[in-house]
Symmetry: C2
Subunit: 96 residues, 2 copies
């Protein structure tokens, strides 16, 4: 296979990276909205049961090539980042 074909594969990876970026940020906006709702209701932001349910759904739908353990690892980082975003929003709200 020539480098032209390698470049084409890489171009496809770049496109997928941008799709992931888009969905990750849209997901983050939803998580911020959920944070605001919970804030009003006085509910805890971090809910391990909900996190477990999300991971179970993902593992149920995972057809690879990534192993469930890898999927779990990556998504836990996404969840953690979302929680940090909610905490930042909370801090900013306190400063208003």
């Amino acid at each position: 296979m020539s480098n032209v074909e390698l470049d084409q594969l890489r171009k496809q990876v770049d496109e997928m990276n941008l799709q992931l970026l888009d969905i990750i940020n849209k997901r983050a906006e939803l998580v911020q909205e959920i944070g605001r709702v919970k804030e009003k209701q006085g509910v805890n932001r971090y809910e391990p049961v909900r996190e477990r349910a999300m991971l179970d759904l993902l593992k149920e739908h995972n057809n690879g090539p990534f192993l469930n353990s890898t999927i779990e690892h990556i998504f836990k980082e996404v969840f953690k980042a979302g929680l940090e975003l909610q905490k930042d929003d909370h801090r900013k709200a306190l400063l208003v």
Copy 2:
């Protein structure tokens, strides 16, 4: 806002999780293909310059709410998982 609306937001998050799962695994298949091409060409799997270029493109397109540092952190985990997959394929190829 009622819990019905909270449930709807969560349903949307679940849908986005599944979209992310789908793209992450499709990306992983491409990365495996790239690994096979590099193997044939005798090129190194890990290329820091290529990783840097991917991150730069992502940061260029990042409109938040996640900060560039968070996007970089999440994607580095995705890259690392892809590299591990290539290494596993290599090990399996040696055993054939």
